[in-house]
């Protein structure tokens, strides 16, 4: 049964992506690398809460399929930027545009808290992620596929209350992945996990991103996590992009290696410099 599902999973994946590449060719972007992700263009983005101006003009281009990490001190506006991208807040000024024909199911968010429905079993929690396709006949098969991807297919009939913190977060990841999003935004998704679980979750995130080629936007306060995962790191200070650093270290990245440590040191210095001179 599991073998069959695994086979189904890999099969449907290739079909999905092939479809998308076909579509991309028809629109005339055949020369681009095959990707299921969406590119993101942000222009002059501003947001205030009352008198407090949180974002003061963000201009950003994120190519399709890129893994971007957004770091910054608390209160710098990084979470607000993510919530605006995910459509959870209204924009005061400026624009955020994705590629053409973006459906709501194309953009998904994963939060620090798993936000699972405690009264729904693991499998139906994942089905929630299908959005309007919840009622379709293949909903259960798709949800099972997503659970296999995060390695929790044996927990499908459990209540969320009996899962560990890391397992809950993996169910939340499966729920976010089940609709095959083209942009996946993470708001400190591993912030509440212990150190070892964090590392295995980071590997899982990297693997699914590699498999599915969505555009990933990770908000985190943990610079080493950002460096381990991202292609590019944006440092936000006072509501603006202060630094835009490319991470050219080949994957898989070995945690604790000298390259990573050197880059981490330089980014931390940049963050601390402004902290010391307000």
């Amino acid at each position: 049964m599991q073998e069959a599902l695994r086979f189904l999973a890999s099969d449907a994946e290739t079909v999905d992506c092939a479809d998308f590449i076909e579509q991309a060719r028809q629109v005339g972007r055949g020369s681009e690398a095959p990707s299921c992700g969406l590119s993101l263009i942000i222009r002059g983005l501003r947001k205030s809460f009352g008198d407090n101006e949180v974002l003061r003009g963000i201009d950003l281009h994120i190519p399709a399929g890129q893994f971007v990490a957004i770091v910054g001190r608390s209160g710098c506006g990084k979470s607000t930027l993510l919530r605006l991208i995910a459509g959870l807040e209204t924009i005061d000024a400026g624009t955020i545009s994705f590629g053409a024909e973006t459906r709501p199911e194309d953009i998904r968010v994963m939060f620090q808290e798993p936000r699972l429905l405690p009264w729904a079993r693991v499998l139906s929690n994942v089905e929630v992620g299908l959005g309007r396709d919840r009622a379709s006949s293949d909903a259960q098969i798709r949800a099972e596929k997503a659970l296999i991807e995060v390695g929790l297919d044996d927990k499908r009939g459990q209540w969320p209350a009996v899962l560990s913190g890391g397992q809950k977060q993996r169910v939340a990841l499966a729920r976010a992945l089940v609709s095959r999003p083209r942009v996946l935004a993470f708001d400190e998704p591993l912030g509440a996990l212990d150190a070892l679980t964090r590392i295995s979750m980071q590997r899982l995130l990297e693997r699914v991103w590699d498999d599915q080629a969505f555009t990933a936007i990770l908000v985190t306060h943990d610079v080493s996590e950002a460096i381990a995962l991202a292609d590019r790191i944006l440092v936000i200070e006072d509501g603006r992009v202060a630094h835009d650093v490319a991470v050219d270290i080949p994957r898989p990245r070995e945690r604790g290696s000298a390259d990573l440590a050197a880059l981490e040191g330089s980014i931390l210095r940049q963050l601390l410099k402004t902290a010391d001179n307000p």
């Binding site: 995910a86 959870l88 709501p104 199911e105 998904r108 968010v109 939060f111 808290e113 936000r115 429905l117 405690p118 009264w119 729904a120 079993r121 929630v128 992620g129 959005g131 309007r132 209540w159 969320p160 209350a161 009996v162 729920r175």
Partner: protein, 267 residues
């Protein structure tokens, strides 16, 4: 060897049955001591009849059909009053929990009415309805209304806003959001209201039947007092205890059935 193998099986067979008996040890002991105290003359039969006498009185009333009729009348009043008051309370709780406008419009008024002890309305209710069925139903419904209303409202207001946001992100319609997030989230609190309401339901009914009725358990007890039938008085009180326990067990069973996801209800 075979003895050792069979040991754990014997244990697992015996324990569940013993577990079910434990809650009954205390009431049975009390009845036993009570019987002994009466038989030995330590307690006079005019103060408290022996359990055997109470059982005998019950048996006689059962044979005459009077007991079944009175229990049925009381049960009917309790459940119909509960259904009326409970559904109105639930409806107001939903409306005020989900709609700001409705809450602003009615909550203040309801809170004012809530602070009137509903049994204080008995004289007025007798003037309005006389002593027929509607008087009892009105009082029970009024008493049951508030615990259901308050706990439904509280349950809906305290549903985790992060879950509601999650539901909206994942494209749930208002109906789905209610069915899949808000209502299940409010359910534990609604059950608390339900159990409070069951207690108030019996209390109200007893008082109403003792003061103004021509049938029912409360009436049976008052009649028995007139004729100094102390065994029947005690019998009515015991039946109230039994019915109360029955209603509580029913609501607990319903709770276990619908809240099986809740850590508190998992084995």
């Amino acid at each position: 060897m075979s003895l050792i193998e069979s040991l754990p099986r014997v244990r697992s067979l015996r324990w569940p049955r013993a577990d079910g008996l434990i809650p009954w040890i205390v009431p049975l002991t009390i009845v036993l001591i009570w019987q002994i105290a009466c038989v030995t003359g330590f307690v006079s039969a005019r103060v408290l009849p022996a359990p055997s006498d109470v059982a005998l009185a019950g048996w006689k009333l059962l044979l005459s059909g009077e007991l079944a009729r009175n229990i049925w009348v009381s049960f009917w009043r309790a459940s119909v009053g509960f259904l009326i008051g409970g559904s109105i309370g639930f409806a107001f709780g939903l409306a005020n929990g989900l709609s700001q406008l409705s809450s602003k419009l009615t909550d203040t008024t309801l809170q004012m009415v809530r602070n009137i002890p509903h049994l204080a309305l008995i004289p007025l209710v007798i003037l309005w309805f006389g002593i027929d069925e509607s008087a009892k139903l009105f009082l029970v419904a009024l008493g049951v209304f508030f615990p259901i209303y308050l706990n439904t409202l509280h349950g809906i207001r305290t549903v985790d806003p992060q879950l509601i946001e999650m539901g909206r992100i994942y494209g749930m319609t208002d109906g789905e959001l209610f069915r899949r997030v808000i209502f299940p989230g409010a359910l534990p609190s609604i059950f608390v209201g339900l159990r409070f309401a069951l207690g108030i339901m019996w209390l109200t009914l007893i008082v109403a039947e003792t003061i103004a009725a021509s049938s029912g358990l409360g009436y049976m007890a008052m009649q028995a007092r007139e004729f100094m039938l102390i065994d029947v008085v005690v019998l009515s009180i015991l039946i109230y205890a039994l019915l109360g326990k029955l209603a509580d067990s029913a609501s607990r069973a319903l709770e276990r059935l619908t809240l099986s996801w809740h850590p508190a209800f998992q084995k």
